[in-house]
Symmetry: C2
Subunit: 134 residues, 2 copies
């Protein structure tokens, strides 16, 4: 059995929020976009199809939960979901709340320029709210 | 009851492949990337969470099927899945086979420049293969 270890690049770009039943939940450290990343805590996953059917369904529920969580934080015009993995191979799912006024609209957030890291106070406030949510 | 009507922009950019149980399956008319789009045939959907749980699970199965179909066509280095909808609001899911040598690698295909439409013969050959697949 190989243990789950978070990819170091994902770890460097994000802040830990919580471990849900299947996924590690991370906040992308980029104040331009409210942006969560779900990483199923199983070793060796690259594609969605590497997860068994039960885990895929669990992931779907956790994506729904992440969407509701982002919606509860602030108004948004559209949610974007993506599983790319062209740079970081470890399977992960992005869930991003988009505004028509945001820095990348209507383009995708991926490849949309350099992240703007959260200020410490804003970051801690946001993490508290994310962790307190049901 | 409002009937499902495919968004005219999606219709203009794609070729019809088939109607699966839930989704209309479209081939993006862009020879740079093997790229399918699934559009659940229900009126008024914008977000994944607008689908009931059963339909979400069905969609997951159809995403898996689209991934397998793309893999059966040609070798690929990574599959990309995305539900954005910033431009076309009608809920749709992109499933794209990526190569490390493709025109947008490692960036996303969305917003990666103008589509290069298929030549007629290549297009018809590809559509035949997609429709013949299980």
């Amino acid at each position: 059995m190989t243990e789950f270890v978070l990819d170091p690049r994902l770890a460097a770009d994000t802040l830990f929020v919580a471990d849900w039943e299947l996924s590690r939940v991370l906040l992308m450290d980029d104040g331009r976009f409210p942006w969560l990343i779900l990483v199923p805590r199983r070793a060796g996953l690259v594609e969605l199809s590497d997860l068994d059917l039960d885990a895929q369904m669990r992931l779907l529920r956790e994506i729904d939960r992440a969407m509701a969580l982002l919606r509860s934080l602030a108004p948004c015009d559209k949610l974007n979901i993506g599983a790319l993995g062209n740079i970081v191979r470890q399977f992960h799912v992005h869930v991003v709340a988009r505004r028509e006024s945001d820095a990348a609209w209507p383009g995708p957030v991926w490849g949309s320029g350099a992240a703007v890291r959260y200020e410490v106070l804003a970051r801690d406030f946001l993490l508290d709210r994310l962790r307190a949510a049901p």
